[in-house]
Structures are given as C-alpha cells and as structure tokens.
Symmetry: C2
Subunit: 120 residues, 2 copies
DNA sequence: CTTTCATATGAGCATTTGTTCATATATAGT
DNA sequence: ACTATATATGAACAAATGCTCATATGAAAG
C-alpha cells in the first residue's frame, strides 16, 4: 500500500485535467468560502429569521421584539448580539431603550432569494 | 404579580397598534420561516458550500469531489445526502459511479447574493 | 457466486449552538 | 444615593451538528 493524501483515491479521476483546472480557478478564496458559510449560519435559525422579518417592518426595541415573538428578553438579546456581530442589524440608544434596525438592503435580498426557493 | 405570557413585558410597547398589525400581516407563515431557516442552515457549512461551488463547474462523482476538496469519501457522501434532502443537488447513476449536479439555478442565485455581502 | 470498487449509512464522539437563569450594566427618576 | 426599568452577558445544559470508523449496499467483472 503506497502513501496517500488525506483524500481517498478512486481508481482514476473521472474529471479531466482541464476540469480540475477550471474548478480551481473558479473556486473563490478559502477565506471567502468560510465567511459565506458563517453568514448563512446566521440565517440558519428561525428565531433570527423572525427577528429580521420583524425589523423589515420597523425599527424596534428588544422588549417589543420579544413580545411580538413570544420569547424572553434574554433570548432575543443574545440573538441580536449574533446579528450585530455579523453586521446584519444596527442599533441606536434612546435613554434606557435600544432600538434595532436592519443594517442594509442586502439582508432583505438574501432572505427574499431564499424564500423564493422555499415557497415555490 | 399578575399572570403573564411566555414573553416578558416592558412598561409599555413602543410600537403602536398599527405597527403590530403591520408586522403580523407582513410576517410569512410560521412554516415558511422554519423552512427558510432550514434552507440557510444547509448553506451554513463550508464543506457544503465548497461542494456546491465545485458543482457549479461540472457534474462530478463523489470520489472526485472528495479528492478535489481533500476530504474523505464518507464525509462528502454524508454532506451530499444533506444537500440531496434539501433538493439542492440531484444525482445520476452510471455503473458504480454516482454523478452529482446542481438541482437548479436558485442555488447559484442564493450563493451569489450572499457572496456579494461577504466580499463587499 | 465471489471479488472489487464506488457509494451509502449507522454508531460514536467532540464541538457547536440556542435557550434559561442569574446577574451585571446603563440610564432615568426620586 | 437609591430604585426601577431596559438591555447585556456569563455559566450551564440539552440538543443538534460534522466528522471518523466500520460496515453495508449496489453494480460490474471475473
């Protein structure tokens, strides 16, 4: 048995050299692929999705979001921190209250694109 | 202390009745929100993202994908089942080999939209 | 029918994740 | 300074996730 890479080795590659080349060329930077996965990971939770849909309608404080979604203030706050870290929402303080809103239109575009796939 | 819902209660709602109404109207069905989160969950892993980017270039068998990505056949196969379950890829058997390819163009549209956000 | 090769799959395990609970911080009012 | 209210945050715990390893399935060739 000869030495081998981490990858298994089938009898032969079905893809030709030029396809391998093509894939390697088209492949985005490893870092971008990682970031992209991280981004989608944030969208991959229904609590966060629901928060974003609420914020589509209006800027809102933590407590109001919690009431609208029937969840605890703590749970919502934790998730808002996740959304904040990913730059999907921004906030504005007014006295004791903190108002959250969508960071930009990309958020909506991404969700719409996904929703199209889901509802078709 | 009076009885209360699952949700906490702040002194008063900042949002007005009509905003609550507006949010409830605009809110997609609970089921769709759940499905949407499930969909993004699938995109939320860099191995699956990389598989999809490889399949953008050409239909490919499990073993070739594994070699291209430097991962085991088992790991790739498991993830392909996840992608298959979500209808993001389809497959075609040819003898012992199984070729996978993208199920439709939505996949690309969703990834592109996300990539735009990441690379800007 | 047995062997071989490509793929699929179940169990096990370490890691990550989302929520709860308790508590800390920040701001305003008294 | 003390209290009350809105929000943030750390620890803990259960549930979900992604990989590995061993093994099963499926198809072609001998």
């Amino acid at each position: 048995m000869e030495d081998r890479n981490a990858a298994p080795r089938c009898e032969f590659l079905y893809v030709h050299e030029d396809v391998v080349e093509q894939v390697n060329q088209a492949m985005p930077q490893e870092e971008h692929l990682f970031d992209l996965a991280e981004l989608f990971k944030v969208f991959g939770d229904s609590t966060r999705i629901r928060i974003l849909y609420v914020l589509f309608e209006a800027e809102m404080c933590v407590c109001d979001i919690a009431q609208l979604l029937g969840m605890t203030q703590s749970a919502i706050s934790h998730q808002l921190q996740v959304l904040k870290k990913s730059k999907l929402v921004k906030y504005r303080r007014e006295g004791k209250t903190v108002f959250y809103s969508l960071a930009d239109d990309h958020v909506r575009a991404i969700l719409d694109q996904g929703m199209e796939h889901v509802t078709e």
